[in-house]
Every structure is written in structure tokens, then in C-alpha cells.
Amino acid sequence: MPMKSYREAINEALVQEMERDERVILMGEDISGGTGGNGDQDAWGGPLGVTKGLRPKFGPDRVLDTHLAEISFVGAAAGAAATGLRPVVELMFVDFMGVCFDQIFNQAAKFRYMFGGKAVTPMVVRMMYGAGFRAASQHSQCLYPMFTHIPGLKVALPSNAYEAKGLLTQAIRDDDPVMFFEHKMLYDETAEVPDEPYAIPFGEANVTREGDDVTVVAFGRMVNIAGQAADSLAKAGITCTVVDPRTTSPLDTETILETVEETGRLVVVDEAHPRCSMASDIAGLVAENAFGALKAPIRLVTAPHAPVPFSPALEDAYIPSVGKIEDAVRDAMGHGSREAAE
């Protein structure tokens, strides 16, 4: 199977879905670029080149550069979705959600409910998230827990290029508003990605490692870091089941609970801040629904309750690392039985 980068996988999903359905349109700042200037057109293809080549292919009526004003164009995407288009809108960095959040969480997310089931709002909001780029406090956040909190939104976090193509394809075909989180540190990472279109269903977790000792649930880029930790631990004789839920909303609670029933131990790895996070969400799920199986305290590995620092030295310490995950797993193993815990 051909190797493609996360960036290419996303681009390919956009191309294929736009070819399949002409109601799919794209909009965002500089997603093509050069608009109104005398120089190159399609000069940017998005700040990180993800949407390059799409305007030349589909024309300016389907690939729209916007002005720098997210309330209006994200809201326009919601209005367009409710009236017959299937917009994919790029918000660039998820950190910018604060300027247009109302249009997402009070408008797009609630139309269907408020209107008694009579609205369909098939829009996708694509956003870069995550730390590691030395982009500092306002360009490095995760924030998916806040979107997960909101009923009416779906939230997808592809952990690699294969997932990115399949989940974005599903997001575009989905009739509900989908928040699509692309980790900026993954764009250059490659994986085997089929040429033909495929959709990965939402709410079906991917078990990337199977093991006996500990269940590790991780999100987005952290799936890979957790996988590395699992591989390293396996050498030391501790085997982990690593679960990538793929979507935080809907959440595949079944797979998570089943694997915890098997292993009896849980570590959750979440790059977001700890409070009201996916880490605590999964902990709550398991402490309520698989309590009887738990042999040890649940361990949560998250970023600290602090904004993302700029300095590389601090940012490296900020992000959950292989080492911290290994420690958490070992720690969970240290409580080998309930008796030991008491």
C-alpha cells in the first residue's frame, strides 16, 4: 500500500469527497491563498500546505478563501450546511475557536435539537491542535474536551495518516457537525494509506496493541506516544492494550470497558489540560461502569494545569512523554491487586 503523509491523506480525502459530491465546498483563510493579489494564485494552500492544489482543481466557487473573520465564515458554513451545502471549514488553529465558538456550540450544534429534529447540519470544522511546534500559549492548545462536552457535536482525532483519511471521509459524509482535530506535529508523519476512498465509522475504537496487564486509552497524537511506551514496556514484560477511541464523541465506551474488564488496570493519556478533560472523562466512565474489574487506581497522564509555554525546554516538559506513560503504567502495576492497594 502506498505511504502517504497525514497532510497528503487529508488532502486526498478532501479531493475524493469533493469529486463524489458537488455540495462539498471548502472555506478558510488562505486555504488557497493569493486571492486578490497579482502574484501566484493558490500561493499557500493553507498555512501548512494541507489544501494545496484544491482551488486549481475545483475552482474558486468550491474552494473559498475567506477574510480574516471567523465568526462570519464559520457561521456562514453553519448556515450553508443547514440549507443544502456540505461545507468543510478550516479554522486553522483550534486556539482561534474563542472568536467564533458561538456559531459552533450554540448554532450548528443545537439546530437539530432546538428545531425538533428537522435540521441537518453537515459541516466539518478542520483545526490544528497540540503542542510541540514551539508555537506558544495561543497556538498549541488541545481544547477537544470542550467540544466533547457539547451535545450535538461530534469530535474526531485521527492519530495517523490512515486514520486521517478515513475519519475525514466519514466526517464529510456525516450529517452532523464534526469537529476534526489535526495534530500539527503529525502532518509529515507517513502511514500506509489506500488510494481509494474509505470511511472509518465514528464511535468505533481502534485497538492498536493488545496486552494483558494494563489498558492504555490515548487520544490523537498521544496514541503514538502511548504505543511507543507500550512497546518499551513489553520488553520489560509488561503488556498493554492500547486503545485509540478515534472519536471522543461519540465514544466507544464498550471497547474501553471491555479491555478494562480484561486487564483490570487503566492509564489514560490526554495531551489536554487535566481538569474536565478526556482523561477524567474516561476515568469517570470506568470508575462508574467497570469498577469491579479495577485492580489498581486509575492513572491519568496529561499536560499540566498551565498554558503551553514557548521555550522548547519547557514545552518538552509540558507534553506527556513516553517516560511519563511508562511510569504511570508501572505505577498501576505496582498496585498489582486490590489488597496491595489497601
Binding site: H67, G75, G79, L85, K118, D175
Partner: protein, 324 residues
């Protein structure tokens, strides 16, 4: 384009019918709210009828409007049925939103009514989206955003002006300036002027006597014609008044008795009646017939709403997603 005074008898009767329907609907709610029959927040459109109806007389199902917290009038003007609306406002099963939305969220997408909105200014971007759909799919439709003087200061509305301009969207911005946002006067809260703002974004902008159905009809007609012809957005600044408080329960002490009297003296329905009779376009009996028809319609809607059951609680978690 036909001017308002060139409208057929049927069309004039229809315009009056919609205005009258709004007025009677709102008056009924005013009474019911005072009697403690209606839950929640209710914002009435009485007094502003000429604006919603004068604009929507030009629209059909290709076209979409985005409304506000004060949305009943826009719904009725756009052809949404009063029966299911009334049930919704009473929170009943059979309400147009199944009882889930209430007064502030009445919508009927099948009629191009994108929803009342609890968030001031939120409709501006949504209407731009509807205009984008119309433009992209080539339907010939237009998007119309109704919003108040208070909303005219919101980033959402101001950004929408620019988006509509630079994307050359088939849009009409209708600023319904009733002089107040809650209790705050627009003469204080709006720096500059609505039409200078519009022009500042490159949008043709007109000030309109919002009590005069004919002036509204004519300026809106031109704006919508421009939009359909691909000539982009227009802004209309309607000067008008709301008769009741900001929401039901508001004592309106921020308006003097004199101001309230002046407002009542400029009643858009009185104005319309006077005009069509004076010009002999309609007869008093035509108008009386409409009045009787509407009184019966709203009385029936009210009785049906009061008789309807509450939605069963198993509806609590339905309609959150198409699939989940």
C-alpha cells in the same frame, strides 16, 4: 419592479393578512403571558409588522431568512403556520420544534426560516451561509438577515457585512431599529449611523420608515432584485418601534409616556389601512374580513395549543444527532 401601490388586490390583502396575523398573534401572547400561561422568555414583534412583511412579500421558498429573539413576526411573514408556532410557544407536543425550542428557537427550514435565535447577532453569518448556498447552487435565492439596533454593534453582524460584500453574496441586511436594545437607547449605543456603516463596507444602504409598509416594500424590492441579479448585498435601516416591553414583564419605564404615545400614533397597521382606503386599493370590508379570519385563526391556534399534551419525556434525548 412593481411598487407597493401597484400591487394586486390579492397581494395587498395578503400583506395585510400577514401583518394582522402577527399583531393578533402577539397580542394573544401578551395576554396569555400576563395570565401566567406561557413559560420562559417571550419577546413580541407587535409594532414592527411592516418591516418583516414588507421584506418577506418579495421572498419565496428559495429564499432564507435568519431571525432574532423577537422572531414570531419574521416566521409569520415568511409563511410559517401559526398553529404549530403557538403549540411551540406553549411547549407542547405538536409544536413546530416538538416543544424543544420555544419562542426563541422557532424555525421552519422547509419555509426558508432559519430560526429565531437566542444569541443576538448570530443570524447574520447564518443568512450569509444561506446566501452562499443559493449562489453556489444557482437557485436564484437570497439570504436576509433581520437584526436589531443592539445587534448592529455585534461583531457577528459587522463581519457579515464584509463577508457579504467581498463574496458578493445575494444578501439583504435588515436592521430593525426600534430605538432600544433592552433598555438602552440606540441613539446612544450606535456610534455613527447604520447607513454610513454599511457604506463604509461598500454596501448600498438606505434608511427606511419601517412603519410604512409601502416604503419598506419598495426599498426591499430593489435590494432583493439587486441580490438576485448578482449585484451583492444591500443594507436597509428600518426605523420603527416595538409596542410592548423588551420581553414580557418589562415595564418599559425607559420610554416616556409621550414617546410611547407617538409610537402608537405611527402604528404600521393603521398606516396601511389608511393608505389602502385613501387610495381605494382595498375597501374597509376587505380589511374587516381579514380581521375576522385572523381572529378566528389565532383563537383556534390558542385553543389547540392549550389543549395539546406536553411532549413525553422520552423525547428528552432524541434529535441531538442525526446518528450517534
Amino acid at each position: 419592479m412593481v411598487s407597493g401601490l401597484q400591487l394586486s388586490r390579492e397581494d395587498l390583502t395578503q400583506a395585510y393578512r400577514r401583518m394582522r396575523r402577527i399583531r393578533v398573534f402577539e397580542n394573544a401572547l401578551h395576554a396569555e403571558f400576563a395570565a401566567g400561561e406561557i413559560p420562559g422568555f417571550v419577546h413580541l414583534y407587535a409594532g414592527e409588522e411592516a418591516s418583516g412583511v414588507g421584506v418577506c412579500m418579495h421572498l419565496d421558498d428559495r429564499d432564507a431568512i435568519a431571525s432574532t429573539h423577537r422572531g414570531h413576526g419574521h416566521c409569520i411573514a415568511k409563511g410559517v403556520e401559526t398553529g404549530p408556532m403557538m403549540m411551540e410557544i406553549f411547549g407542547r407536543e405538536g409544536g413546530i420544534c416538538g416543544g424543544k425550542g420555544g419562542s426563541m428557537h422557532i424555525a421552519d427550514l422547509s419555509r426558508g426560516m432559519l430560526g429565531a435565535n437566542g444569541i443576538v447577532g448570530a443570524g447574520g453569518p447564518l443568512a450569509c451561509g444561506a446566501a452562499l448556498t443559493a449562489k453556489t447552487l444557482g437557485t436564484g435565492g437570497v439570504g436576509v438577515a433581520f437584526y436589531g439596533d443592539g445587534a448592529s454593534n455585534q461583531g457577528s453582524i459587522l463581519e457579515s457585512y464584509n463577508l457579504a460584500k467581498i463574496w458578493n453574496l445575494p444578501m439583504v441586511f435588515v436592521c430593525e431599529d426600534n430605538g432600544f436594545a433592552e433598555s438602552t437607547a440606540s441613539s446612544w449605543s450606535v456610534g455613527g449611523s447604520q447607513i454610513d456603516r454599511g457604506k463604509g463596507f461598500g454596501i448600498p444602504s438606505r434608511e427606511v420608515n419601517g412603519n410604512d409598509f409601502f416604503e419598506v416594500f419598495n426599498t426591499a424590492g430593489e435590494a432583493i432584485e439587486r441580490a438576485r441579479a448578482g449585484e451583492g448585498p444591500t443594507l436597509l435601516h428600518m426605523r420603527l418601534a416595538r409596542y410592548y416591553g423588551h420581553f414580557e414583564g418589562d415595564a418599559m419605564t425607559y420610554k416616556t409616556a409621550e414617546e410611547q404615545a407617538t409610537e402608537k400614533a405611527n402604528d404600521p397597521l393603521d398606516f396601511f389601512r389608511g393608505r389602502v382606503i385613501e387610495t381605494q386599493l382595498l375597501r374597509q370590508t376587505d380589511l374587516d374580513a381579514v380581521d375576522a379570519e385572523i381572529d378566528a385563526e389565532i383563537a383556534e391556534a390558542l385553543a389547540a395549543a392549550k389543549a395539546a399534551p406536553m411532549p413525553p419525556t422520552d423525547q428528552l434525548t432524541t434529535d441531538v444527532y442525526v446518528s450517534y
